[in-house]
């Protein structure tokens, strides 16, 4: 969710990237939850969920590192 701040377009009011992840957090969670429950291939479910988590975390880490170095 927090990674969305970095790639969601800011929109006309310049706050869409802040508001949308917050407002749609329950929906985001529900999609991932149902996917993980319904995928019969447990390994794939793990891989997809973990992949999303890692991509999100990596995006944030790169951003924070960049912010710290500047």
């Amino acid at each position: 969710m927090a990674g969305g701040v970095l790639w969601i377009p800011k929109g006309a009011a310049q706050i869409d990237n802040l508001v949308l992840p917050m407002v749609f957090f329950p929906a985001i969670w529900a999609i991932v939850f149902f996917y993980a429950c319904l995928d019969r291939n447990l390994l794939r479910a793990w891989a997809v969920t973990l992949g999303l988590l890692l991509v999100n975390a990596a995006t944030i880490a790169v951003h924070l590192n960049g912010a710290a170095s500047t």
Partner: protein
């Protein structure tokens, strides 16, 4: 209502049950207190009434009273002033300033709180200290505050209370979604109450009726509840960490609008009564007022009003706190925001149309293909009847085929016959050149012979005693062809597109339309 595979339906049923079992009791507590908390204002008025009060109306003479109170508090408390109605119509006036506190994301409010009589403006109570501490010993509002805090955080310390109620909201969301999916006859169940049956059945019907009628509300409440809880406990701090290096105040200012430049020069406050009268004329009675920098040149009055009849939400009006003039700049920016919103909506509608187009096209293709299969099956049945097999034809025509709902299917002329259903399923199929096949629920054939390759067939597979939900497939005889290829349920629609889809939830696998042609080719050999 919604087509799901049997396996997915089972999983969803399990999720539906466990979400209720694990968190049902706490969820029940939150829901019950939430229902009561809707009437928090009325409960407070009832619990702590004032004699001769006219609740929730703003009295004339408030301007003079504010000047008097301001002279009795420390100058730093005039940094911010909030006013709103409390139990029995008491007017809460809180002069305060903000002090950064170790471990708190936002500066905490510290100041002097007054409760005023709504008619006489007599000071009923005065307390000085931290805002949260004052609220904790706020006797007139204690009952409703107890209920509200039980509802939003179960009286657990922050942020754990919000976190728990957020989880409860997600559990309710899961229960609502899975309930919607697993109850396939939702409309019928709205009116099904078999009250002369046994207890378990009656309880089941009652559960379904109550849940079905409340499903839209349950979904909205679960979604908004988890949103509110997680936003304050997790979402806001997490986003502030990424976007503002943890500065939640900066993020709040970004979301709520920039702060006006400071001017610490003292100034005479504007006539507050006149501002209130103007705001009431413009947007109705105020229900919450904030005054920034009272008695300073940069004073600003923000008035929030309740939604008027026919309006979805209330308005917020901004006044210059030293001149009393309405902030026209704010009005202009609001109009600009409306224009921007309309542009965004127009863009969104166009994007939605673009998104829907391929979706509709897929639906159309699927419908046409299903139509072809239905025709093929119907022809086969008629053909069998003509060849002196009326029993099977009648059986197929009367019992199953008219109710055949083909969710998705491959091309009819590439279909073979799947004749080895799993135990616990029953099936009906029709084969051109073979015989209509009907299997019992043990998975054994009751009638019929294996179909020839390349024959036209359709399959429906379901559970005994259940309406056949319908799946039609380009299945082939596994034993004779040795391929084990087939199309079942939703995967078939993807087969039409030629994608390689493997559906492991079923016995049969699909490797695309190309493989389903093989039997036909062999048959020709």
């Amino acid at each position: 209502m919604m087509e799901v595979s049997q396996q997915n339906a089972k999983t969803m049923l399990a999720i539906h049950g466990w979400s209720g079992i694990l968190l049902g009791a706490l969820l029940y507590l939150v829901i019950v207190t939430g229902v009561v908390a809707v009437f928090a204002e009325e409960i407070n008025d009832w619990a702590s009434p004032l004699q001769h009060s006219a609740p929730h109306e703003w009295p004339v003479g408030l301007d003079a009273k504010l000047r008097e109170l301001a002279s009795t508090v420390k100058p730093e408390y005039q940094e911010e002033l909030t006013m709103f109605a409390r139990a029995g119509g008491r007017l809460r006036v809180f002069f305060h300033h903000h002090i950064p506190v170790e471990g708190e994301a936002f500066p905490q409010e510290y100041g002097a709180k007054f409760d005023l009589h709504p008619e006489t403006l007599e000071v009923l109570d005065r307390k000085e200290g931290w805002g949260d501490d004052i609220d904790e010993v706020d006797a007139p509002n204690a009952l409703a505050d107890f209920l509200v805090h039980l509802h939003i955080s179960l009286h657990l310390p922050d942020p754990y209370g919000f976190f728990l109620t957020g989880v409860l909201g997600l559990a309710m969301l899961v229960a609502a979604v899975t309930g919607f999916v697993i109850h396939r006859h939702l409309l019928r169940e709205l009116f099904t109450l078999r009250k002369y049956r046994k207890g378990l059945l009656i309880r089941r019907d009652t559960h379904v009726i109550a849940a079905t009628w409340n499903l839209p509300f349950a979904f909205v409440l679960a979604f908004t509840g988890s949103y509110f809880s997680f936003t304050s406990s997790v979402g806001f701090p997490a986003l502030a960490m990424v976007a503002f290096s943890g500065d939640q105040v900066a993020m709040s200012e970004t979301l709520n609008g920039s702060v006006a430049p400071e001017n610490t020069a003292p100034a005479t406050p504007a006539d507050f009564d006149r501002i209130l009268a103007d705001a009431t004329t413009r947007a109705g009675a105020p229900n919450f007022i904030i005054v920034d920098h009272y008695a300073r040149a940069d004073a600003r009055v923000t008035i929030f009003t309740a939604a008027q009849e026919g309006a979805l939400y209330g308005r917020s009006l901004v006044y210059d706190g030293s001149s009393g003039a309405a902030d026209t700049g704010k009005t202009v920016s609001r109009h600009a925001a409306v224009d921007r919103q309309q542009a965004i909506v127009a863009d969104g509608a166009a994007a939605l149309r673009r998104l829907r187009r391929p979706f509709l096209q897929r639906r159309l293709v699927r419908a046409r293909i299903c139509e072809r299969v239905r025709d093929a099956v119907r022809n086969v049945v008629v053909d069998h009847a003509a060849r002196g097999d009326p029993r099977m034809a009648t059986h197929g025509a009367r019992s199953h085929l008219p109710r055949l709902r083909i969710a998705a299917c491959a091309r009819a002329d590439h279909m073979g016959l799947f004749h080895r259903p799993r135990p616990g399923t029953c099936c009906t199929g029709a084969a051109d050149g073979g015989r209509i096949l009907h299997c019992n629920h043990r998975g054994r054939h009751r009638d019929g012979a294996p179909a020839r390759y390349g024959s036209i067939a359709a399959m429906v597979v379901g559970r005994p005693g259940h309406r056949i939900a319908g799946c039609a497939g380009a299945a082939v005889d596994r034993r004779r062809a040795g391929l084990g290829r087939g199309v079942v349920g939703r995967s078939a629609s993807r087969a039409v597109d030629g994608h390689g889809v493997r559906d492991r939830r079923r016995v049969l696998h699909l490797d695309g339309i190309a493989q389903s042609r093989r039997p036909a080719a062999r048959d020709g050999e």
